[in-house]
């Protein structure tokens, strides 16, 4: 049952991904992308990471995609002139297929080993995912958290500098 559900979501995710890369209108691409994000959020729930699912919806689908769609609207972009089927496209297709094959090969032959931790699905349910993430962020990952704040500051300053009409 779960497996069928997984396949269903996976097919939807891949199909919407296909929309992203094939739709001529940027808005349709964007909508496809939003759909992919939702599918991934469902995966996150299935992987016992409900908080990540929420963040996925809020940050990605909520913030980033809105920004993108906003810019698309702002620039009033029409449909993109389709790239002719030049050798470039064929090369691209070959290249991405090669990437796929390579990575699939490595995944199929490779093994996920790794040191296992103690955060089982049971822990997640009893302690709560938000608390686990929060603890991790403010103890183990305090420095990256602070760096992330600088990162966002840089992005804000940068965006302002670039987009403001007058200095």
């Amino acid at each position: 049952m779960e497996l069928i559900f997984f396949y269903l979501i996976a097919i939807v995710a891949v199909a919407s991904g296909f929309l992203v890369i094939r739709c001529q209108s940027p808005v349709n691409s964007a909508l496809g992308l939003v759909n992919t994000f939702f599918c991934l959020a469902i995966f996150y729930v299935m992987l016992h990471a409900p908080f990540m699912a929420a963040i996925q919806i809020m940050v990605y689908a909520g913030a980033i995609m809105v920004l993108i769609i906003f810019v698309i609207m702002l620039l009033n972009l029409g449909t993109e002139a389709r790239k002719r089927y030049t050798t470039g496209v064929v090369w691209s297709a070959i290249a991405s297929l090669l990437v796929l094959f390579n990575v699939m090969y490595f995944i199929k032959r490779g093994r996920v080993t790794g040191a296992e931790g103690d955060i089982t699905s049971y822990t997640v349910e009893s302690v709560g995912h938000v608390e686990l993430i929060g603890k991790a962020l403010f103890t183990e990952y305090l420095l990256p958290f602070e760096i992330a704040s600088i990162l966002l500051l840089v992005a804000i300053v940068g965006a302002v500098v670039l987009a403001k009409k007058e200095v």
Binding site: L3, F6, A10, A13, V14, V20, I21, P26, S29, A30, L33, T36, L40, F43, Y44, L47, H48, A49, M52, V59, Y60, I64, L67, I68, V71, L75, L77, E80, A81, K83, G88, S92, A93, A95, S96, L97, V99, V103, I107, V112, G114, A115, E116, G117, D118, S121, A136, L137, E140, Y141, P144, A148, L151, L152, V154, A155, G158, A159, L162, A163
Partner: protein, 100 residues
Amino acid sequence: MITVYHYMTVAAILFAMGTYGVLTRRNAIVIFMCIELMLNSVNLTFIALSSHLQNMDGQVFVLFVMAVAAAEAGVGLALMIAFYRNRDSIDVDDINLMKL
């Protein structure tokens, strides 16, 4: 039974699709969306692995990847707007002033 490899396979497919999109599309915004697709496939990999390995590192990593994606979106879209103002296009084939 769904294993971590199932998720990783889906992620790999999405990653390759994102790559394909980056290589074939001409609209810079769509290219950026394809890059987001690649980042998301990485996120899926991370969370699948994190869940499988039962530690939080992967999930925290994803959180930061999201922050980075947001920051990149802000700056990237600002760059695109600036380019659009001067060139009246955001077709990457029109980024051709400097070459050879």
